[in-house]
Subunit: 322 residues, 2 copies
Amino acid sequence: MCVRRCVITVGDLGEFGVINRITERLPQVAAVMLGPGDDAAMISAPDGRVVVSTDLLLEGRHFRRDWSGGYDVGRKAAAQNLADVAAMGAVPTSIVVGLGMPADLPLTWLDALTDGFRDECAVVGAGVAGGDITRCDLVVIGVTALGDLGGRPPVLRSGARPGHVVAVAGRLGYAAAGWALLEAGAPVDSAVLQEVVAAHRRPCPPYAMGPEAAELGASAMLDVSDGLLQDLGHVAAASGVRVELDPRSFAVGEPVAVAAKELGADPLEWVLTGGEDHALAAVFPPEVRLPPSWQVVGRVVAGEGVLVRGREISRRGWDHFR
Amino acid sequence: MCVRRCVITVGDLGEFGVINRITERLPQVAAVMLGPGDDAAMISAPDGRVVVSTDLLLEGRHFRRDWSGGYDVGRKAAAQNLADVAAMGAVPTSIVVGLGMPADLPLTWLDALTDGFRDECAVVGAGVAGGDITRCDLVVIGVTALGDLGGRPPVLRSGARPGHVVAVAGRLGYAAAGWALLEAGAPVDSAVLQEVVAAHRRPCPPYAMGPEAAELGASAMLDVSDGLLQDLGHVAAASGVRVELDPRSFAVGEPVAVAAKELGADPLEWVLTGGEDHALAAVFPPEVRLPPSWQVVGRVVAGEGVLVRGREISRRGWDHFR
């Protein structure tokens, strides 16, 4: 009779069994010239420059295993780094993953996590090139993403100039609304509410819009990870300009509006200060004709900081140490 | 009167204060075309391919703050990834770092950690290109290192052939001896014992020997991180050969011999199974004339596994989940 031991765990397989288990689930991808199994991986970098971004995700802080399954955590962990690479105007080529986990972690959870990495990478044609595993009381995930600029200059935060327009691509406020619903323990019984909870669990960054913005001639760009106000504050500071947003120009998504009504919250606050959707915010010279993927939300003027015209709103974003 | 609060901590600075504190300590390096401060860094990759390796280091598992200061932890964390890059035959160009830390971490410890990253990178001319910080109860460090092959093919684990010779560069057994002394609580009162303890705290990988071995025509190479026997087992398995080591050919370092005498241990066991010195082990065709940086320790024959001739020895290395 199996009672406790019918769940196969990471510890049952041991280090090399786990490594094999992970690598067997990963497809070969053209940009990954040498994948897992050696001291290091080898990635194609045809541009002669490589864009690289890294993030650390901790159980209990960035995700909860009772709120998000392994698959969602894997997709989210990959997404937030792939979005950083796209926000430079680059096409992601690969990720490498450092993974700490308890020996009693169910193997099904690890499999799902691996599949999440794999599938989020597949969205942009990237591959999981390698990694490192170690034992840890908590699940700790360090993801590093690489990308190729295809000959384009990188789009920095510092190129915004007065007269330029500010635009966003992708969703805003969805993940914040989903998190608020979960934290309030509110019933999530409609498809529309499930959509924001799903957005909290798994962002859906507009990857292709990064290289698109670069091709269009964006003067500045970043991915919205700490909230639009705070992140545009980085653009304002780096560029030495003021960003003026017009809150009337924001199309608040219906699921965000419904969740706000459910909780008696202000949907615009989520849109302006919620992170984790990994939308892209970019600044363009005024002569650029923007495709419909980009929604104009404000403009750049002389000055400093970020101003929301016609309306006061908290500018607080997320500070990991405050 | 300041009693508890006279130690300035990471939490006192907040997230962006900490990021500024770290980046101010980092010099500009030629290969890092765009350093910290944007969504991603940009690294020179003149070869058109980039070598990448990642590792996760956890307080309590990979280091102890009561045994190692921040400076040593930084050097060690950087070293183990830079050594992986060198073991492919590549020249390291940069690292990126994901850093989790408690809010009450003294700022002096963080400064020392940063300086450790910086100084270990400087050994190979690499730079700290960027990173991510987050709050965590423990110090968690994810390091990813990049490198450039300079037009050379990567040296894999799979190229060893019968008739080739096995050689090592760098120190073996030093870190294991130092760890054993610390764990036994043995007095470390002589310079010779302090040397192995220092080796545990801060490895000294023979970085330049990686590209050197590639230029010499090495058929296989790896860095010794889990113990020579276990790591050469990976070469044997990947190449489909047997590795025969001659224990009489190992020059046991004097500090290792002294530490073994102190603890009544077998120094050869540390040499053959101790990890963390990040020596390089390589296999060369027999016609290659090896410079003195490489010490021949065995040969490749038909068969499988790793055999230590004339002597039985435990083959156990380090398994993170057993």
